[in-house]
Amino acid sequence: MKKLINTAESVLEDALAGVAAAHPELAVDLAARVITRAVRPPAPKVALVSGGGSGHEPLHGGFVGPGMLDAACPGEVFTSPVPDQVLAAAEAVDSGAGVVFVVKNYTGDVMNFELAAELAAERGIEVRTVLVNDDVAVEDSTWTAGRRGTGATVAVEKIAGALAERGAPLDAVAALGERVNAASRSFAIALTGATVPAAGRPGFELAEDEIEVGVGIHGEPGRRREKLRPARELVAEVVSTILTDHHLTAGDEVIALVNGLGGTPLLELYIVFGEVAARLAEHGITVARSLVGNYVTSLDMAGFSLTLTKADAQLLELWDAPADTPALKRA
């Protein structure tokens, strides 16, 4: 394992010190492990708090700022934050208008945010939770912990964040977050595993011509292993997997996110995006807005995920609304 770290144990601490040094527009509480905006928005405003394991940067700290999150609480690498942290975040940003937790659907995240919500309620903070579960690689059945939350988190944080910034009430912000999630589907393919610093080697190893199809963002193996094929074929399959699940039809508009998992060059992500746009055009679906880049990563994993969010006028208008965060800016 080769990594630019000091020790495997201090990864989160050292990275937070870097975030603090790099972003005067953020306030980083190194002890509580909470990232907030340096300048608090005018109260009252519904606050958005998100968090999850580290290793997915810029998610979530990179999305703290006007128009998106009020606070992020990063856990250890690939490990959900602890309830104390989430509570500290909620207490730091609640203006009395309540707090929306944006939680990706993983057992650990769900439980830790649930405990934090209980503690917050005890302290008189009103909390709503938006559970993000967009990954169609996982069947949503009694046989699984439900669909994982991945790329849709960006859309939820952007769109619900924009609504909150305009002063909408707690239930409206949470309901919109849920609507964005319900309108979103994702699917990922990995070319390599991810190496957690503390583990020291990749979560899974692939041969020189193998890919992991339907992989998760924590180095969880996918549902099957296959031979690498040209981008065109891989994308065609990913698009049709999502469309099958999503019931998108000709004439629909989408927000499309081609997301790098951390180790894939932007050059390749653009190739993937070109194929996505071409395949969607064949189905009569219009890409109304798009993002191409590393937004929800999985450490050094090579590969990509595609997220399609079915768009309508309200979602697009809020997607276009101003945002000023380290990783997503809109004038």
């Binding site: 690498v77 993983y106 180095g219 969880e220």
Partner: protein
């Protein structure tokens, strides 16, 4: 032999030592069907628990075993994260709550009730059924073996030894199961053939109890 504060502390320290010794194996099990952090999660948690026990703010020696175990649970919740943090944290808090202060130290049967409360807490929070390939699958046979031993007249040492055996059997028996809860469930049929990391750590927990109570 009763469950006094000393025994509770010995147990927690023995678990911490076992986790320190075995964390790489736990992480390896978690790499196969999870995200490769179970060992470091528990290690971080029990390192923090030891720091509490050795720190200026340690639970008072006369505070009773319940307070010590509750404090252990609270510490795990606030340090571990992931699925195992809340689950083990709530479990220790429930065990602690079942050993209230001012009561005489629990005997083997009483401690069995406390362990049962721990399992109930896990199941309440995680909603896993036996057979879902989680730590419930180690804890359940551990508790059954413990109770059977107590019913047959065993004291704490024998009951704990039986529980350790039951937990280890339970952990091994997760191998052919297909996971239905937690991260391993995403793998579908590919989760079959691997031991559940949480069940493996539960086995460490009961083996530690057997070790510290054994002659």
């Amino acid at each position: 032999m009763d469950v006094d504060t000393r025994l509770a502390e010995d147990w927690v320290r023995a678990i911490a030592a076992a986790v320190e010794r075995e964390h790489e194996r736990l992480t390896e099990l978690d790499s196969a069907i999870g995200d490769g952090d179970h060992g470091s999660n528990l290690r971080r948690g029990f390192t923090a628990v030891l720091a509490v026990l050795d720190g200026p703010d340690a639970p008072a020696p006369d505070g009773g075993p319940g307070a010590l175990l509750t404090r252990t649970g609270t510490t795990l919740i606030s340090k571990v994260g992931g699925a195992s943090g809340p689950l083990y944290g709530k479990a220790f808090r429930a065990i602690g709550a079942a050993l209230p202060p001012g009561q005489p130290p629990a005997d083997a049967a009483g401690f069995g009730e406390a362990l049962a409360a721990g399992l109930r807490a896990v199941r309440d929070l995680g909603r896993a059924e036996p057979g879902d390939k989680t730590l419930v699958d180690a804890w359940t046979p551990a508790l059954e073996a413990y109770r059977a031993a107590v019913a047959a007249g065993a004291g704490l040492p024998e009951a704990a030894a039986a529980a350790a055996g039951g937990a280890e059997r339970g952990a091994r028996d997760t191998e052919p199961l297909q996971a239905r809860k937690g991260r391993a469930s995403y793998l579908g049929p590919r989760s079959v053939g691997h031991r559940d990391p949480g069940a493996a750590s539960t086995a460490l927990l009961f083996r530690a109890l057997a070790d510290i109570t054994a002659g």
